[in-house]
Amino acid sequence: MTKPQNQTPAEMEAAIEDLKRQITTATQAGMQRIACDPESIEQGLAKLVLGLIELLRQLLERQAVRRLEGGSLTDEQVENMGQALMKLEEKIHELAAQFGLKPEDLNLQLGPLTGPRR
């Protein structure tokens, strides 16, 4: 059986470039101070840190879906990956809630600009 090769390194490169770009964006010039008025420095920090973790989670989620679609994973691997990601997402929301942050507050780029507008 052949390794699923060339696609993966290129994908990784693209994903890493994307992540780098987003991290640069997120940390450039005290963005948090400008884009919002956090109640405290604590919340501002939490937002930044959890935001970065959420970025990573999204990246991992995309990778996971691609692996799922690639069809070369066993059922057990799929299950494990899914469980891990699900727990990660739950954990992030829990932590965010502890700082009074909603899931959409973790979008570093544009805060609450998600979901359908009603």
């Binding site: 640069t24 940390t27 884009a35 990573l56 994973l73 507008r117």
Partner: protein, 77 residues
């Protein structure tokens, strides 16, 4: 005063939205000149020279995860 140029299709545009969008563009889009990145905490400017280190670590971590997954995939065949 910056005027709104965002249209929410099927909804109504609000000023808050336009403001966020403008800030997003001004802060995130455009040319970056390599140099020091400054983060301010509590009014104190910190020059974050460690950014490259953070990025390198993340890269390495991601590559390691990927390599491990690849290894276990190959073992399973």
């Amino acid at each position: 005063m910056a005027s709104p140029n965002i249209i929410s299709i099927g909804g109504d545009a609000s000023d808050e939205l336009s403001l966020l969008d403008i800030l997003d563009h001004v802060l995130n889009a455009g040319v970056v000149i390599q140099g020091s990145i400054v983060i301010s905490l509590g009014g104190v400017d910190l020059v974050y020279v460690g950014l490259n280190v953070v990025l390198t670590s993340v890269e390495t971590a991601l590559r390691t995860i990927e390599a491990d997954q690849q290894k276990s995939l190959d073992k399973g065949k």
